[in-house]
Amino acid sequence: MGLMDLFKKKNSGNVAKDRLKLLLVSDRANCSPEMMEMIKNDIIQVISKYMDIDADALDVKITETESDANNGTVPALFANIPIKDMKHQPKDN
């Protein structure tokens, strides 16, 4: 832990707030863990056609993002997909 982390150490109240905010977005989206798993697997399949990705480290979740249309936030699907190798070039079919 760095020196700055000591000052920035989050108290548990804020941890709870941040966890809840995320949790409730996915709760409200009524998105089951099973469905998230299916989405994740499909994403792996699609992206794997074009590049080598780290399927184990792939992280898919529902968060919130600012919306341009109506001043406010909308749910967003967030996917963090670590790439292992870019050299695998897309094939022209």
């Binding site: 108290n11 548990s12 109240g13 709870a16 707030k17 966890r19 809840l20 905010k21 409730l24 709760d27």
Partner: protein, 262 residues
């Protein structure tokens, strides 16, 4: 015009029954005619919080099944003439009552009372559906904990899906010492997350336990929780009441203790 208010939370143990007892008593103190209905069939406890457990003859299921007249089952409060309790059945199942029967019962009570309070059971099953069926508005009770807030959010969603006309939030059991340290979410955090109108913030108060032990609601008494509940009652009636400063009334002792902790 009478108003039917359901007190609900999703999670158990956050203070629905305590809130019902105190809001009911508080509204009676403001000279309103109030009836409280314990809708938790099989697990009744509003009677014991009100200190009326020895007076029960008939209960909610008896009324619905026509075993007695509604008037016979209503128990008058010890202190307030215009406050009544309709206890739930202890030895029956939740399926003994349907939402339609609840609506019918409530409509009968509307003729006589200004406020009809429904103490909802925990959960989102049959008991919950029965309790919200005839309600005009809802008080959602939560504590500043992740589990309670998550359940409250779910309840708010279900109430909205059932077209509840008005939903207000009661944040219960706030511990200001922990909020100050940053180890508990504050009222604003909870309101932000749930996006529901706040109608009351009640501090965690030892006096609540004492009053429950004695079977006498503490609303209106001099402690912070008593004042917080009294304010909720006035807000229910439409009055604009500023929120209490929950940190204000710390005793000299706790202040000293805090100084030494630093």
């Amino acid at each position: 015009m009478s108003e039917v208010i359901v007190i609900t939370s999703g999670k158990g143990g956050v203070g629905k029954t305590t809130t019902t007892a105190n809001v009911g008593t508080g509204l009676a103190q403001l000279n309103k005619k109030v009836v409280m209905i314990d809708t938790d069939i099989g697990l009744r406890n509003l009677d014991v919080v009100m200190g009326l457990e020895n007076r029960i003859v008939y209960n909610l299921v008896d009324v619905i099944e026509g075993k007695c007249r509604l008037k016979q089952a209503l128990i008058k409060d010890k202190k307030y003439q215009d406050l009544c309790l309709l206890p739930s059945a202890q030895t029956r199942d939740k399926d003994a009552v349907t939402p339609e029967q609840m609506v019918e019962l409530i409509n009968e009570l509307r003729e006589e009372f200004d406020y009809i309070l429904l103490d909802c059971p925990a959960g989102i099953e049959q008991g919950f559906k029965n309790a919200i069926a005839g309600a005009d508005r809802a008080l959602v009770v939560t504590t500043p904990e992740v589990s309670a807030i998550r359940d409250a959010d779910r309840i708010v969603g279900l109430l909205e899906a059932n077209e509840m006309k008005r939903i207000d939030l009661v944040v219960n059991r706030l511990r200001m010492d922990m909020v100050k340290r940053g180890d508990m979410m504050n009222v604003n955090d909870v309101c932000d997350i749930l996006a529901v109108n706040l109608i009351g913030a009640v501090p965690d108060d030892e006096q609540i336990v004492v009053s429950t032990n004695q079977g006498e609601p503490l609303v209106g008494s001099n402690c912070l929780a008593g004042q917080a509940y009294a304010n909720i009652c006035r807000r229910i009636m439409g009055e604009e009441v500023p929120f209490l400063n929950l940190e204000e009334k710390q005793g000299v002792f706790s202040k000293l203790k805090e100084m030494f902790k630093k």
